[in-house]
Every structure is written in structure tokens, then in C-alpha cells.
Symmetry: C2
Subunit: 333 residues, 2 copies
């Protein structure tokens, strides 16, 4: 039966079963209770009254929420969607929940969200935070454990797990060099981005190692950015373009289609991320696969260690790798 009005509490069960609330609590929580008749009566009463423990009261009493907060710059960005997805899977099996906040790509919003979340979570994952170092320092002073992704945290007491995009970038440049490209262009990401730094480092190393020339144009992180920045690279007569992300590559591809430049015949294009649609583009996009879901899982694993206290890993770096598809080929003669 569903009781009208007020939800049943442990007190109601205790009264109905003729036992103390302590006993009810023990039965509900599966703690040993010797007298099986008591257990039965409590169970019956609980069923009868459609009892559901008040989770908030429980969390309050126990001092833990079994909830972690996750701050992402943009929920609609497939990169973050995949990170969340990876995290969500593991969280569920660990009986935890996820409070998600979208900062709307506003760096100033991030610290505010950390403060708001920190009271209701056991820990926080800050995905690719764009906040200035001084805010990050503030965040690190909060009592709630925090793990960042894709951001170096200097000597702050924060965990950090990132993807080493330089290895993938080196592979990409190597791939292009092997095809015969001598001058490649890079559609760079946002200036302050930690991820972009890794890609630039890989670009430089790859270029040096394989004797190719590299020209950079800043495109930012959106398809529109790629669309707008592409012509600047074409002018410089590059024969291949590497993009900060698949989204940026998509914008470049759209522009190339408009310009009637055939990919890969007239120009090779390499993306970054390997978002789900990349394999289904025409032509399927050669891109650097970033282990996004794994990033989410590792961030959670590290956060969990931090929450447990004790010595915990402070940093981890995941590898990236080139996935060759059809958007790259030998340069036109």
C-alpha cells in the first residue's frame, strides 16, 4: 500500500513492527539481527508501508554522498560526452553518482561551479579546466579532492590525468612525411589549451625528425574556426592539413568541399579525437585516436584514490595513436 501524504520513515516501521528504530536500521542495512521474527516483522512493515530510506538523511548522517561532481566546458562537445560516458560506466558499478555541471566554456564559471559542487560531493573531476592558475590554486584549497583532466597542475595538490597527444601527432607527421608531404599546415586550438601545447610539441618534433615544414594558423576549437582558418593555410601552399580536433577538421573539410578541393587527392586532412562520426565521413577521416572513455575511467579511478585518502597517484598520461583512414594520400604532383 502507498500511504497517502507523508512518506514512511524508520519510526513508522519501528512502531508498526513493535521494535526500536535501531533494529529497523539494522534490518534495512543488512546488519546481523539475531531474532529472525524481528527481521520478518520489520521487513513486512517496510513492505506494507512502502518504505524507502531517505537517502539525504543517510548521506547526512554518514557524512558521505557517494556522489562526485564533474565540470565540463561543453556537454555537447563529443569529446566530453565520451569522457562522461567512460566515467558513468565505472561510477555505476561503484555505486556512485555523477553531478554534472556545464561551464559553457566560461573559465570564470568553473571555480564557482567547484564551490557549488564541493558541498554536495565526495570529490570533483574538472575536465579540461580553462580557469586561470590563480583560480586553480583556490580550487586546490577546498577540502574536496579534485582531479583535473588535460591540464598541468604545477605543484598543486590535485590529481591530473591527461592524454599525451604529442605521440599521436608525431605519428601523424611521420605518416604524412612517408606519403611524400613536405609542407604541412596545423589548424591550432585555443591559445591557452594544454591539449594544444601537446599537439604543437608533437608537430615540432615530427617536423624536425622527418624534415617537413610546418605552418600554423589558429582555428580554435570549433568547426566554424576550422572553416574560417583553412584558407590561410591554403595560401601557404601546404599539401596536408592537421587539425586540432575532428570538429575543426570538419569545418576545414566543409570549406574544402565548397572550394572544390578534393580530399585526399588535392589535399590530405588529419583530425584529432576520433569522434564517433569520424569513421563515417566521406572520405573517412584519418585522425589521432584519443582514449576519451579511458580518460574518464582513469580520472575516476584517481579521484577515488584521493577520496580514500592515503598516498595516491598525482599524475597519469594516456597515449594517443594515429588511425589511418581515407583522408590522407600522396600529395598531387
Amino acid at each position: 500500500m502507498v500511504t497517502a501524504g507523508r512518506r514512511a520513515t524508520i519510526q513508522d516501521i519501528a512502531r508498526a513492527a513493535g521494535v526500536s528504530t535501531a533494529t529497523v536500521s539494522r534490518v534495512i542495512n543488512g546488519l546481523p539481527v539475531a531474532d529472525l521474527a524481528l527481521v520478518e516483522r520489520v521487513r513486512d512493515a517496510a513492505r506494507e508501508l512502502d518504505y524507502r530510506p531517505n537517502a539525504v538523511a543517510r548521506d547526512f548522517r554518514r557524512g558521505v554522498t557517494h556522489t562526485i561532481g564533474v565540470v565540463v566546458p561543453d556537454l555537447a562537445n563529443p569529446f566530453f560526452a565520451a569522457v562522461l560516458k567512460g566515467m558513468a560506466g565505472e561510477l555505476a558499478t561503484a555505486e556512485h553518482r555523477m553531478l554534472v555541471a556545464d561551464s559553457g566554456e566560461d573559465p570564470a564559471e568553473e571555480l564557482r561551479l567547484v564551490d557549488e559542487l564541493s558541498g554536495r560531493c565526495d570529490g570533483i573531476v574538472l575536465c579540461s579546466p580553462r580557469m586561470p592558475m590563480r583560480d586553480l590554486r583556490q580550487a586546490a584549497r577546498r577540502p574536496t579532492p579534485i582531479v583535473c583532466t588535460n591540464r598541468s597542475v604545477a605543484r598543486l595538490p590535485l590529481g591530473t590525468v591527461g592524454i599525451d597527444s604529442s605521440v599521436g601527432m608525431v605519428e601523424a607527421v611521420e605518416h604524412l612525411a612517408a606519403l611524400g608531404h613536405e609542407h604541412v599546415g596545423y589548424l591550432a586550438g585555443p591559445r591557452s589549451s594544454w591539449s594544444d601545447k601537446g599537439r604543437r610539441a608533437g608537430l615540432e618534433e615530427g617536423a624536425r625528425r622527418h624534415g617537413v615544414r610546418a605552418t600554423v594558423r589558429v582555428a580554435g576549437s570549433t568547426s566554424d574556426g576550422g572553416y574560417d582558418a583553412l584558407p590561410g593555410l591554403l595560401e601557404r601552399r601546404v599539401t596536408a592539413v592537421l587539425a586540432f580536433s575532428d570538429l575543426v577538421a570538419l569545418g576545414a573539410l566543409a570549406r574544402l568541399h565548397e572550394l572544390d578541393v578534393d580530399v585526399p587527392r588535392d589535399l590530405s586532412v588529419v583530425g584529432f579525437d576520433d569522434i564517433p562520426v569520424a569513421a563515417f565521413l566521406a572520405p573517412p577521416l584519418t585522425t589521432v585516436n584519443l582514449p576519451k572513455e579511458e580518460l574518464g575511467r582513469r580520472a575516476w579511478a584517481m579521484l577515488r584514490e584521493h577520496m580514500a585518502g592515503g598516498a595516491a597517484a598525482r599524475g597519469a598520461l594516456l597515449p594517443s595513436r594515429l588511425v589511418v583512414r581515407r583522408s590522407t594520400a600522396r600529395p598531387a604532383r
Copy 2:
């Protein structure tokens, strides 16, 4: 100063400021306190002790969590990502938070998640639930208000807000008919999908109204599904293909590219959703725009009404509309 160990409570502030906890509470919550000296002392003490209200204690005491639960079948699906995004924006301004759970496209998981969330939320949004009617009935009996998206809830006491995809589908068929297509194919979604029902209804109506023939093949909801199901439609010699979603269209497009079938010269393709990448495909995809973010906003608005009690709207239907881009053209002679 940060106190070592235990976090400061209202009691610590009261002691430090020489006032009662009631007064501290009033100051913290901005309730009127006449004696300004008291206010000052409390503020100073709070700052001194780096006091942060215990949000869980507060929620517990007040009996509300200012949190809503959201269950989605797949976080990585750009459709749901956009719905969440729309919701997140409004929630933030309404001082609410969002507990997100991913059911992993497992219908059996949904009711479990509802039960788990219901204790820690003031309300729940169930996005495109795939659960059987009997589970939905169970969910409706929970004390927590629930709003579904894209699902008819029969006479259950649940709110529901959906997107009427039939209007967009009719527009799409009309568009193709105007171009001269006489036989179109539909790559259908999952059999049990409410959204697919709307699209089929629109397809039938559009076909009847404009005298075009329609052939259906089930593709499901993934790009792989579209890739696999496309040839079955080609065999039937359709001159245009409508897809259940942009993701499905993407799979079809990839297959067409492999088959060297030019879009739109040899075959026209229409998607459904208008996900962010649709405009950047080569060719840019003609698709039916679904107001995903608006769906999220409306679901939250409706849930909020239900949470407030009183008479609340039970259903809402949002329109969809065709966006013509470059993937549709006159059929080849």
C-alpha cells in the same frame, strides 16, 4: 585561515562570534538581523574559520535537494547531449543541479536508475525511456515527480514533452516530391521507438499527399545500422533516402561513398536531428531539425511545475522543421 581537520560548523561560528546558532543561520541566509554589530561579528568569524555551509545538512533539514535526476539511454549520443545541454543552462540559472545517469541503452536499467535517483532528487527527467509500459507504470507510482521526453505515457500521472517529428517528415517528403522524386526509401529506427512512430506517420502522410512511393528498411539508431541497411533500399531503386537520424544517415553516406554513388547527383539523402556536424558534412546534410535544447528546457520547465505541485501541463509537443542543405537534388534521369 583554513582550519586543520574538521570543517567549521555553524556552532563554531556561534561560539567564535558569541551569538546563538540561530543568529548565525540568519546571517548566513541573509535573513534580517537587527543588530549590525552581530552581523559583522558573524561574518568575520565565518571568514576567519573559512566556513562553508554543509549543503547536505541543509538539504536534509529543508527537505529539498535542488537537484533533479536525468536518465539518458546514451550520453555519447549527440541528441541526448544536446538535450542535457539545454536543460543544464536553465537549471543553473534556477539554482538547481543535475544528477545524470546513463542506462547504456538497457531498458531494464531505467527503472533501477529511477529508484536510485528518486531518493536524492526533487524530480526526474526520463529521456526517451525504452522501458516497457509496466516499468513506466511502476515509475509513475514513485513519490518523485517524473517527466518523460519522447514517449507517450498513456494515462499515467507523468508529464511528457516530445518532438513532433511527423511535421518535419511531411516537409521532407514534400521537398523531395517537389524535386521530382517518385520513390523514396526510409531507413527506420528501432521498432519500439516512439520517435520512429512519428516519422513513419509523417512518411505515410507525406507519401499519400504527394503521391510518392515509400519503401521502408529498419536500420536502428546507429551509423552502422544505416551502413548495413542502405543496400536494401538501393536494390529497390529509390532515388532518395530518408534516415531515422543523422547518425543513421552518416552510415548510409559512408556506404554510398564506398559504392561511388554521388550524393546528391545519384541519390538524395535526408537526415533527422540536425546534429552539430550535419552542416559540415560533404555535402552539407539536408535534415529535419529537432529542437533538442528546447526539448531539454521544456522538460525542465514542466518538471518544475510538477514539483511545485498544483495543476501542471501533462503534455507538450514541439515542432520539427526541414533544413534544406546540399544533400538533396533532382533525381538523375
